[in-house]
Subunit: 185 residues, 4 copies
DNA sequence: CATGAATGAGCATTCATTCAT
DNA sequence: CATGAATGAATGCTCATTCAT
């Protein structure tokens, strides 16, 4: 693996384990097996490193959502697909997911990052808008919908992380709650 | 106001504004209008200060939830009460609420804190268990319920914070989604 | 006991146990059972406290040497008396003795202190000078004699502190070595 | 000269001049002409720095004692050699010697240090034991002997430091006192 | 005299970042 | 590109000392 990737991986691991402030760039370099100076060849600052991890994780997640997305299907099926995929991705990439959570709550997130990222999930948002238009789901402000969805998924994944054996059931159960709430009359 | 409280307020303000790591104890003391050493009379370490802010905020919120809680009412009304109160509290104490969010996602939270805090919302959890028993709401693992509720509320409040004018509407709308999802057959 | 004395005692105990730099005035006040400010009523600064402990200890030691000093006796008997008394005092006041040792090696000792103290043991020095004059002991520079004596006693006491059961024997043995070395032809 | 050595030298100088507690690591770095952080590359803590100075000084002294040590000679000659060498070393390295004195009386000395160091002077101790066995010197507890010797030398060196012009004479005089005391019947 | 909360200069140590090799 | 010794500003925390009560 190239050094850039080694640094990214080591940094993610350590940030999640010890938090941003308790992980020094020296820690990361050591964990990655490179010299302290090398980190700064690939990332101008520690902040840039952190933002990069976030952006790339979000991107990889978005890509995995797109795969097999049932474009023509009913809104319920589309949402179910997204639901399942997000949960799967979060559980299979728990370090990355936890990192994203930490990051969202931190003041690191720059406006630039926010914008770059939001576009990646636009295709999902489009499905929702379509569903609202044709009455398949209830009409509520799209931003509120987004926030609720985000909170919902985070809650579900956090639950599964603590109770891994109930993965399948929990995904179904929470989707049902979600769908019952969201669906049109 | 006493110095302890001044420090607590200044710290909350700065942490929310700049994050934990970008707020030095010297910054806090200055903002609070006390000497650098004074902070350490009331809080042994920076960590203890952070944990204290969290505990006290959570406590105040729990207290405001209890006021006017409709003990004998239907589960829906109880939940509606909680929903409205949490949202109100979060919006009227947005700094505290944002702090709690930051804190939950950080590695600062110690086990002690976690335990001390969890007991404060037990009365709400009891209502939910009761509702499940008598069929008013669907039966899903209580922990999952908790996680979903948490995510839901966070999402709602975050939305309202960004769109203050839609406060009333958003609270109603998100509760409807929640209730439709959660209610028994 | 009055507060001044309580502070002096507590300070001696803590200094010996933890060193000067690891003993704060707050530690001392607490150990003495007085308020932090009280210490500064009796001693203007920490340094003054330290110097006072030294002076008073040295004085008490000198007084105990004077008691029963055989003024008219042969130099050997005078020295033996001093020898025995110093050892006894050091062992019965080991905290004070250890303090004096620490103090001598530190940069705390001010010229003032040094002078005030040196006069206290002048009567012993006089005996030695007399002994040299009349040939009872060998003629070597008085300051060198003083230094040797000091080192000698310190060594003896340190040995006895580590081997308390051999107290009597050690005092005899070391005096013999000393006297054999020192005596005139 | 390498930076480690520069730091060691500067620290020794300042510690002797101003004491441990009145010498900050910043003082040392400045005196050594390096950045404040550099000190901590070579020494993890201030304590470690202090212990290192002691160990290395003691080692260098032991080495200089070994040079030209008259293995086969009479005990008196061996002791005279040690005596002369210690005095010479102490006077030529007065800063180091004074440091060792300060250090011995401080609570800095860790057990580790003590052990590591004691082995360095074992060859001298062996000579003494041998001398006692064959009656060349009086039979007294070896530890007491050690303590006396230590105190004796310290006293002598301190005297010479204060009276440099009398160096030769003082060494002879104090050794005579010592030898007359110590020698067998 | 006695108290102890408050002060703020000072300290040991850390760490993001640089740069000569 | 890669290294890692070196940098020095910044930080959390301590503590001798003061002073209003």
């Amino acid at each position: 693996m190239d050094k850039r990737q080694k640094i990214l991986n080591a940094a993610t691991r350590l940030f999640v384990e010890r938090g941003f402030q308790n992980t020094s760039t020296a820690n990361i370099s050591k964990e990655a097996g490179v010299a302290t100076g090398t980190l700064f060849i690939y990332f101008a600052t520690k902040d840039e490193l952190i933002n990069t991890i976030y952006k790339e994780a979000k991107q990889r997640m978005a890509e995995s959502l797109k795969e097999g997305f049932p474009q023509g299907a009913a809104t319920r099926d589309k949402l179910k697909h997204l639901w399942t995929e997000v949960a799967a991705w979060a559980l299979d990439n728990s370090e990355n997911f936890r990192f994203m959570h930490m990051f969202s709550a931190s003041p690191f997130i720059t406006n630039l990052t926010r914008e770059e990222v939001e576009s990646t999930s636009s295709f999902a948002m489009q499905s929702i808008k379509d569903g609202m238009k044709n009455g398949e789901i209830a009409s509520i402000p799209i931003d509120l919908f987004h926030s609720i969805l985000d909170g919902f998924l985070t809650g579900t994944v956090r639950y599964i992380a603590a109770n891994p054996s109930k993965r399948k059931k929990a995904i179904e159960a929470s989707f049902d709650v979600f769908w019952n709430g969201i669906k049109g009359e």
